[in-house]
């Protein structure tokens, strides 16, 4: 590529996006052609401290990769109880790429947050051109869910009585 002729030139946003996607389990197994298109279609969004990235009960058709900053999951119905914290290099919302899901939580930026976002609309366009990638991605998501519950069982399964009764998400 011509950028190699001028080594001093900084990477373009697209090139940075591509490098990020290549590191993510959800995309890592995909061929490079669809990845390039996805990296091109990704968008950066900045959220101020206190701003909501997405809202509880609302349909949100985006997936997010946190490039910079921190956020916390809240439930407003429970009076703004905080749950998990998310920080740099974490990727959330892959299910939204495939179907309409209403968010069960609100994600609030606790610091200035810069996210790489991918909307379902754009993702679906890529899927139309490269239908084969969906199987790989569903596999990655399901493996993620499985690993998540495995970890929950291992780390908390014995401690929390209430949790044990509700276990089984990996059997959906």
């Amino acid at each position: 590529m011509s950028s190699s002729m001028e080594p001093k030139q900084p990477l373009s946003e697209y090139q940075e996006n591509l490098e990020i996607l290549l590191q993510l389990p959800l995309f890592a197994g995909l061929p490079i052609e669809p990845l390039k298109v996805l990296a091109y279609l990704c968008k950066r969004e900045t959220f101020k401290p206190g701003e909501m990235v997405f809202h509880e009960h609302e349909v949100d058709a985006n997936a997010y990769y946190i490039i910079e900053g921190q956020g916390v999951l809240l439930s407003q119905t429970d009076g703004e109880v905080g749950y998990t914290e998310y920080g740099e290099r974490e990727f959330i919302g892959s299910m939204s790429l495939f179907c309409d899901v209403k968010r069960l939580f609100t994600l609030k930026a606790t610091t200035k947050m810069v996210c790489l976002t991918l909307s379902r609309e754009k993702f679906q366009k890529v899927l139309e051109r490269f239908p084969d990638i969906s199987i790989k991605m569903v596999e990655a998501i399901l493996t993620g869910i499985h690993a998540w519950e495995e970890r929950l069982l291992r780390e908390h399964g014995h401690a929390c009585e209430g949790c044990r009764k509700r276990i089984g998400v990996s059997l959906v």
Binding site: S3, K36, T46
Partner: protein, 835 residues
């Protein structure tokens, strides 16, 4: 029904006057074609034979006149034929399309839209053209044949009999050969289909082929098909060519017998030389009509089989009549009575079993249950989209299956699960349902189309107002005829800056002469104004000598060309092989139709150096660079050095152009309206830097505030109503499409509303707003059947019906069902809570 009509129907219904006129022309034409033969004979025998110049001139003149008349008439015949054929073609297309639209929904589940498209676009063509030829060609050619043959008999019956005697043999042999050719052709089609699927299979499994290095196996399998195709094609072509050869042979045998017998007779003095010449000419003229008849025979065969297959495919009876013939459409109150309703699909699967329900006019029913429980099916049976197989659905005591489509469309509004929005403006889509009710009756009986105020009211109700306002704000005003609007907007701009400038600084990049604008194009950064002359518009800038000269002076040409090359190369690397799609080009400086140009440029320049590029390529690359917007086009970066150079260039340009071409640009000044920018950009006096909803919300709030003060809100919304939604409405979000679909049904204001998960793509606030609207404005006004996926919205309904496996398990007011602690209670509180 159109599909039952034989091809001959279209001949009969084509313009009989024209067909008759055609026959007359044909008759004259045939006379005009035989006449020169007679002249030939006279020229040889009388003029040349008797050495009479004046006779020669006379006969030659007549000969010439006849030839001219024949050619003219031949053209007239073709013209009329073409007209008849094309006229029939468009009739078949229109009537078939009208028929296809009325076919039951079920038909379209198995018929691909590709099939429908190719049927209407290509497959009907041969049938249509045949109709144009159907009378003219056979009549013309048979009559011509007969005329020439008759003339030959007139000259010499014996010779004529001998030379024409061959034709019956041809008539006997050719169809037999044709039949074999048809068989071979059919086999060719089949094998070609196998071959394509084999290729498809191999390409899909190419990984496996590479992995196993199984090239030999795959080549072998493929080779088998190719060899079969090879043999079949040879046979097929041999038959085809054989028919031609046979035809030719017989044709050429004619003169042979003529010379032998005719020569002998001429030598004997029983046949004059002129007659022999005329005879030969006549015989040769037999060939054309004969060949045309043969061709017609083949076209006829192709067209009839093609037409037959086509009509067979669409030979499905519409389930309901389109409109009543003997009465006005019903005006219904909206009471619904469903009794023992059942619906079974092929294979005997019962999707609905013994469903009963009763609704008084204005009552509202929520259908709930798991997916697959039949709630959508029930709604679709009531709205006649499916034909139920048992029981009855009565509206005001009238059976739904007996009603016409028009009865229903006048009394029912349907919002489908994924509503369809057609290409056109927002306004056209809002009026779609109302406009469908218009018909050919007297103007005073027509339903009224909604007014602008009504449309604005309804888009407010469904929560589409802000979106339409946004479309309006994103419009670029044309020319300066909107002066009074422009003045108001400039006034708003000052207010905006004073009151919201600081607060929104994060979301807006204001036009600032001293700073590089990351959300404006390189061209806008250089000229810092909007062009008033065509030669300075962005499309023409890269060809504008004055501007190119300026770029050189500012030392910008080469770095910009380099930027252009970088942009094109990166873009092609990312998207080069993909079919163009609007989404892919939204954030690109290249438009879909330029893709091929830039692909060619990149291939041409390869690794060559900037100075080696052709002038044409240089300009193409410059054009691209001038469009580059760093904040939007992310496949390349703007090097800092270049950025500073451009900023310096801006001052040079402004200086220069004001001296050389004053008035060529309107610079970005607080006091001037910028016609090259959208209304929003004009109010902001800058560009938004994010289209995230959070940012948009904040900007909207302040803009609406100002618009109300200036009394411009409705004006801008009106402009927004003309926003084009794109094919399938794909320039709208899913939520916007749903809101638009609800709005168009509300505008229709029907006595019965069917909503099938109509708010599923909406955010909470919009969902609640529409629910409240249904409970206040529509309760008691329209009978509502709503398929509901979210249980927190059903409290306000008069009745709730819980469905499972095609049955209604329980039905009644919400609270009653909850108190009963039955299925609804379980659904609302979760199965485990009930246990």
């Amino acid at each position: 029904m159109i599909t039952k009509r034989p091809l001959i129907y279209w001949v009969k219904t084509s313009s009989m006057k024209l067909q008759l006129f055609l026959l007359i022309i044909i008759a004259v034409n045939i006379a005009a074609r035989v006449f020169p033969l007679q002249m030939q004979r006279k020229i040889v025998n009388e003029a040349i034979g008797l050495k009479k110049i004046n006779l020669l001139l006379l006969y030659c003149g007549l000969y010439l006149a006849a030839v001219l008349v024949a050619s003219g008439l031949k053209f007239a015949i073709t013209a009329i034929q073409t007209y008849l054929g094309q006229e029939t073609l468009s009739r078949i297309r229109k009537e078939l399309y009208a028929h296809i639209l009325t076919l039951p929904i079920g038909f379209f589940r198995k018929a691909s839209s590709g099939m429908v498209v190719s049927s209407l676009v290509t497959e009907v063509v041969s049938a249509g053209e045949l109709v144009g030829q159907a009378i003219a060609v056979p009549v013309n050619n048979i009559l011509t044949l007969l005329a020439f043959a008759g003339y030959m008999f007139y000259l010499n019956p014996l010779l004529a009999a001998i030379s024409i005697g061959i034709y019956p043999i041809v008539i006997f042999v050719v169809p037999k050969l044709q039949k074999r050719s048809n068989i071979a052709n059919k086999m060719r089609v089949d094998v070609t289909r196998d071959l394509s699927s084999k290729i498809g299979e191999t390409i899909t499994g190419i990984h496996e082929v590479h992995g196993n290095a199984s090239y030999r196996i795959e080549n072998g399998k493929y080779g088998e098909f190719v060899d079969r195709l090879f043999r079949i094609r040879i046979v097929w072509n041999l038959y085809k060519q054989g028919i031609k050869a046979l035809n030719n042979l017989f044709q050429n045998l004619g003169p042979f017998t003529l010379f032998i017998v005719g020569g002998y007779l001429a030598i004997q003095g029983r046949f004059d030389l002129g007659a022999l010449v005329a005879f030969l000419s006549a015989y040769e003229k037999l060939y054309d009509p004969w060949k045309e008849l043969m061709d017609f025979y083949q076209v006829y065969q192709d067209a009839t089989t093609g037409y037959g297959r086509l009509m067979e495919y669409f030979d499905v009876t519409p389930e309901h009549a389109i409109e009543p013939t003997d009465r006005e459409p019903y005006q219904l109150e909206g009471s619904i009575h469903v009794q023992d309703l059942s619906f079974a699909v092929a294979g005997g699967v019962q999707l609905l079993k013994q469903v009963n329900l009763d609704l008084k006019p204005g009552e509202q029913l929520a259908l709930v249950g798991f997916s697959g429980s039949g709630k959508s099916t029930l709604a679709q049976c009531i709205s006649q989209l499916y034909s139920y197989t048992g029981g009855s659905v009565l509206i005001d005591g009238k059976e739904v299956s007996q009603m016409t489509k028009k009865d229903l469309s006048h009394n029912m509004g349907i919002v489908a699960q994924s509503p369809y929005i057609f290409d056109g403006t927002i306004k056209e889509n809002l009026r779609y349902s109302c406009e469908a009710l218009l018909d050919d009756r007297d103007a005073d009986k027509q339903p009224r189309l909604p007014s602008l105020d009504e449309m604005i009211e309804v888009i407010q109700q469904v929560g589409l107002f802000i979106d339409v306002l946004r479309f309006g704000l994103n419009t670029v005003l044309a020319g300066d005829q909107q002066d009074e609007l422009a003045i108001k907007i400039i006034r708003m701009r000052e207010n905006f800056k004073d009151r919201f400038g600081e607060k929104l600084a994060d979301y807006v990049e204001f036009f600032d002469e001293t700073r590089y604008l990351n959300f404006s194009s390189v061209a806008a950064n250089l000229t810092f104004g909007s062009p008033n002359l065509k030669e300075f518009t962005p499309e023409h800038l890269a060809e504008n000598e004055y501007f190119l000269h300026f770029l050189d002076e500012a030392q910008l040409k080469r770095p910009l060309m380099n930027l252009g090359r970088e942009l094109a190369a990166q873009f092609l690397d990312i998207l080069g092989d993909l079919p163009p799609d609007e989404v892919f080009f939204k954030e690109s400086p290249i438009s879909p139709d330029e893709l091929d140009d830039y692909r060619a440029v990149i291939e041409r320049i390869g690794h060559s150096r900037l100075h080696e590029f052709s002038e044409q390529d240089q300009r193409l690359l410059l054009r691209l660079a001038l469009r580059f917007i760093p904040g939007v086009h992310k496949m390349a970066t703007l090097p800092e050095v270049l950025r500073d150079l451009i900023l310096e260039g801006r001052f040079l340009f402004i200086d220069k152009i004001q001296k050389d071409r004053p008035g060529a640009f309107t610079f970005y000044r607080m006091s001037d309206y910028i016609y090259s920018q959208t209304i929003l950009d004009n109010i902001l006096f800058g560009k938004t830097t994010s289209d995230h909803p959070n940012a948009q919300d904040r900007i909207n709030q302040s803009i609406i505030h100002l618009l109300i003060e200036e009394d411009l809100l409705e004006r801008i919304v009106e402009i927004g109503m003309d926003f084009r939604v794109g094919t399938k409405g794909d320039r709208l979000s899913g939520g916007q499409r749903q809101k638009l679909a609800i709005a168009r049904v509300f505008l229709k204001d029907p006595p019965i509303l069917i909503m099938d998960e109509a708010t599923s793509a909406l955010d909470n606030a919009s969902q609640k707003r529409i629910q409240t609207l249904l409970e206040t404005k529509w309760k008691g006004r329209s009978t509502l059947i709503s398929v509901v996926h979210r249980l927190d919205t059903i409290k306000g309904y008069d009745k709730v019906a819980v469905m499972k496996a095609g049955k209604i398990l329980e039905m009644g007011p919400y609270q009653e069902l909850i108190d009963r602690k039955g299925v609804l209670y379980e659904l609302v509180h979760g199965a485990k809570a009930a246990a």
